[in-house]
């Protein structure tokens, strides 16, 4: 193999740039917890999540549910809504329904 047959190619791909973060610790119990729910606005997501909220209320005695519905399933949740949920909830359930 001679030198002239070696070629340097520019990598056309990118890598994800992920800042290090520490995940929140697991809740010791759901009893009395304030739970946020993000509804992605896909069809029947509200039906499924309302049922989930009922189960959490009846079976695990959560204190409160705070609901946020995204205007579009394809858009990331509004940062202001995330901030509000983070401040007022102990845990948030997010899901992609369809």
């Amino acid at each position: 193999m001679t030198q002239k047959n070696e070629y340097v190619l520019v990598d056309p791909t990118t890598q994800a740039i992920v800042a290090p973060f520490n995940g929140a610790p697991r809740l010791p119990t759901l009893a009395g917890a304030r739970i946020g729910i993000i509804d992605d606005s896909k069809r029947n997501a509200d039906v499924l999540l309302q049922e989930l909220a009922e189960v959490l209320r009846n079976r695990y005695e959560i204190a409160d549910v705070q609901w946020h519905r995204k205007p579009s399933a394809s858009r990331a949740a509004d940062p202001a809504a995330i901030k509000e949920l983070a401040a007022s909830c102990d845990a948030v359930v997010i899901a992609i329904g369809d």
């Binding site: 070629y7 190619l9 399933a73």
Partner: protein
């Protein structure tokens, strides 16, 4: 030579081996690639006047920045010429602009492609076809600019089929999807002028959309527009679905639409683009009864449902009208949006 970012060294002894090495690297769309050699990429960057590390935009949901160097490498692979770079860069900037919401159309089951519409003097300068075989093969600028956009989506934006790209059926425009408007051959204002640019500026509009549906109709403008409206009112488009509705009051998803009109401008001498849009907007609709038959709406058909209509396009301004196609006026096209406007909107950026 400037720093071109990550590189890899490969060996080949002839053209066929070079093509095979590129396949092995997994950077492709399934068709043979032009190897993105450092020299060629540097040449493309020089033509664009950008440094390799300059950030053109980002896709925050995938934590990725897209630099001029990545755009250049993909444009080289697509078979572009260096002078196409300003158009590829503008298209990249446009599809990474927040209203386009690239994460949606590039991942959705809805299977859209990014249609690139080139306006202004650059189209003629680099030879982007706006006439015969508008969406068809045979022209390097159209073929390779559209392909570069797809390779940027796959390689730089991680829209990899089966991974982040979850299209159920996709469409052929996902290989390449680039046209120009035949703006010197019509009295109509070109698309970019309608969208706030000057005629002497060049601009690129990107639109997340379905494949073009050919509309065969010849005769008076009204006859052509009736057929266009009928095709655009189909059940089964993204606009007439009730999934991921943008405006809950509308009941159906709605969205923007591109309409191309071909032929001789003289046929349209008594019509402005606004008149065409108003005519179409009123007629791109579907009856509540039809929407119930297709289970877009729930419930049984009731009296009045056959006469009650739902508009599939929010406003007349959401119809992007483009004069393009062959010199015969018997073939138009309709290109429905991938999503509701809240999910993705057409974006126009200047070619610098």
């Amino acid at each position: 030579m400037q720093d071109l970012g990550d590189t890899t060294t490969v060996v080949w002894n002839d053209a066929l081996e070079a093509i095979e090495r590129c396949y092995e690297l997994g950077w492709g769309d399934g068709l043979p690639l032009v190897p993105p050699t450092a020299g060629r990429v540097a040449q493309f960057l020089e033509a664009s006047g950008k440094s390799s590390g300059e950030v053109i935009g980002e896709i925050p949901e995938r934590r990725r920045e897209i630099t001029a160097g990545k755009v250049a490498a993909n444009a080289v692979m697509a078979g572009c010429l260096p002078e196409y770079m300003p158009v590829v860069l503008a298209a990249t900037e446009a599809m990474l602009a927040p209203p386009f919401n690239l994460v949606g159309p590039s991942s959705s089951m809805g299977g859209s492609a990014v249609l690139v519409i080139v306006n202004g003097p650059i189209a003629e300068k680099i030879g982007v076809n706006s006439r015969n075989n508008l969406f068809g093969p045979g022209n390097r600028a159209n073929a390779t600019i559209g392909r570069a956009v797809r390779l940027i989506l796959m390689n730089a934006c991680a829209a990899i089929p089966g991974l982040f790209d979850r299209s159920v059926i996709g469409h052929p425009g996902k290989y390449t999807y680039c046209i120009a408007e035949a703006e010197t051959e019509t009295h109509w204002n070109p698309l970019h002028v309608e969208r706030g640019f000057k005629p002497e500026q060049s601009a690129v509009t990107v639109f997340a959309s379905e494949s073009p549906r050919q509309v065969r109709s010849v005769g008076r403008p009204e006859a052509i527009l009736h057929s266009v409206a009928d095709a655009a009112s189909s059940l089964g488009t993204n606009m007439s679905t009730s999934g991921s509705v943008g405006n809950p009051e509308a009941g159906v998803r709605q969205g923007e639409i591109v309409v191309t009109v071909a032929g001789n401008s003289a046929l349209w001498k008594d019509w402005t683009k606004k008149q065409v849009r108003d005519f179409l907007h009123e007629r791109i609709r579907r009856s509540v009864a039809d929407l119930k038959r297709a289970q877009v709406f729930p419930g049984e058909i009731e009296s009045g449902d056959e006469e009650s209509y739902v508009s599939l396009i929010p406003e007349p301004e959401d119809i992007l009208l483009v004069f393009a196609g062959g010199e015969e006026s018997n073939m138009s096209s309709v290109i429905p949006s991938w999503g509701p406007k809240v999910g993705s909107m057409a974006v126009t950026k200047e070619v610098k």
